[in-house]
Symmetry: C2
Subunit: 219 residues, 2 copies
DNA sequence: TGTACATCAGTGAACGCGCGTTCACTGATGTAC
DNA sequence: TGTACATCAGTGAACGCGCGTTCACTGATGTAC
């Protein structure tokens, strides 16, 4: 056993990346509250002071997580929206993807959508939106804010209201997964896809394999 | 200045209630994270150990807050639903009320809807629902969970899906207020009513008094 | 009506804990010559 | 190709802090007789 090769090298190589990934794992396993600088260091096998060489303070780490989370979420939305060239359907598909992504990454979703870490008014994350999602999509939040603050009439069918409806619907269902409300009812991440499709207006067929799943969580 | 009458009496009278109310004020002003047993005691003018005479531990205080929050929220929903005898409209009105209540009580909403403190599968808070809200309303969450877990088909028009849509929509819009996303865009609690009405399908007229509000927050 | 006493709601001092953060340091790396 | 040195990414010990919680206590209240 040559010691030299077994021992961790003094320099990590890409500690910053490793810290981010360990943070994501950590919050995924134990929730956002469990995210402490010390614990993240521990997980990577580094001293509790080491992270400060890459992040000014705890807040900076959270900000970096928010950016990373938004990047990943953005990618998922764009990938889903590419499933259709018809704008409305592309929008719906991205809504389904939003719900699924949030259900699968509840803790990261929480950080990524917390305005304490990210600025809703600024430009969206740096991912290339497909044609079907272009347009008002990118300035949606600021356009909406302007409309609302202007005091103008808000027709129920106003394009911005339609879009807000779609986004709020996805956010609402996503929140039920993220908060753990669905989990406490025995509804799991595996159900996210079906619920998302049905709630966005698709008729979802019965599950193929005989589902005794209803048994596992009481009547 | 008679000392006796000026000094706070040794016994508080209704410290439990006072602690709950101070807690609600505290989270309203400084957020859920600021809720510490010591600070609540401080606000009421009592030692930091006193609260433990009424709540076994911090968690018990949070649970009591969740119960109180749900009671208040339930009352608001019921009161709003009484605005119509037509079930769909009553449901819509309660959605508007939900959004407004959440916008006005963001911190309490957060605690009240956190399944760490409250059980979604159990009966809803103890408020008398008006006729228009009776029926599946009360068993909605468990009915929905059963349907989803059964693996049965989920038609987009299934009554439980329709209702989930409505609830998720309200929750989504509420979340935008609660999280501070709207606030960071300059959309305030005062706008909650209009947004809620428009998003639930009502055509909202322009604000009567000339709104220079759009000026206060940039272009 | 008066007194003894059990009960209970508060006090205030103290504790252990884990956190975020700082600090002087040291090992490793890369670059100038 | 070899050496001196600046730079930087880590270490590990230490700190101050505020928290949740416990404890022995004491002041006030209500009740039995």
């Amino acid at each position: 056993m040559t010691r030299k090769t077994r021992t961790r090298p003094y320099h990590h190589g890409d500690l910053k990346r490793a810290l981010l990934e360990a943070s994501i794992e950590l919050i995924h396993e134990e929730g956002v509250e469990a995210l402490t600088v010390a614990e993240v260091g521990r997980r990577v096998g580094v001293s509790s002071a080491a992270p400060y060489k890459h992040f000014a303070d705890r807040q900076a780490l959270l900000r970096a997580l928010a950016v990373e989370g938004n990047r990943r979420l953005g990618e998922a939305l764009v990938a889903a929206a590419e499933g259709s060239t018809e704008p409305r359907e592309a929008f719906r598909l991205s809504g389904v993807a939003y719900i699924r992504w949030a259900a699968e990454n509840p803790a990261l979703h929480r950080i990524a959508t917390d305005p304490a870490h990210i600025d809703y008014a600024s430009a969206p994350p740096d991912v290339d939106a497909p044609e079907a999602l272009k347009g008002s999509m990118e300035t949606f939040w600021t356009d909406l804010a302007e409309l609302v603050r202007s005091g103008a009439a808000l027709p129920a069918s106003h394009p911005l209201m339609e879009q807000l409806r779609g986004r709020a619907l996805a956010l609402g269902v996503a929140s039920l997964f993220v908060s753990g409300a669905f989990a406490s009812l025995g509804i799991t991440t595996a159900d996210a896809e079906r619920i998302a499709r049905a709630v966005t207006g698709e008729d979802v067929p019965a599950t193929s394999r005989r589902s005794k799943a209803s048994r596992t969580h009481g009547a």
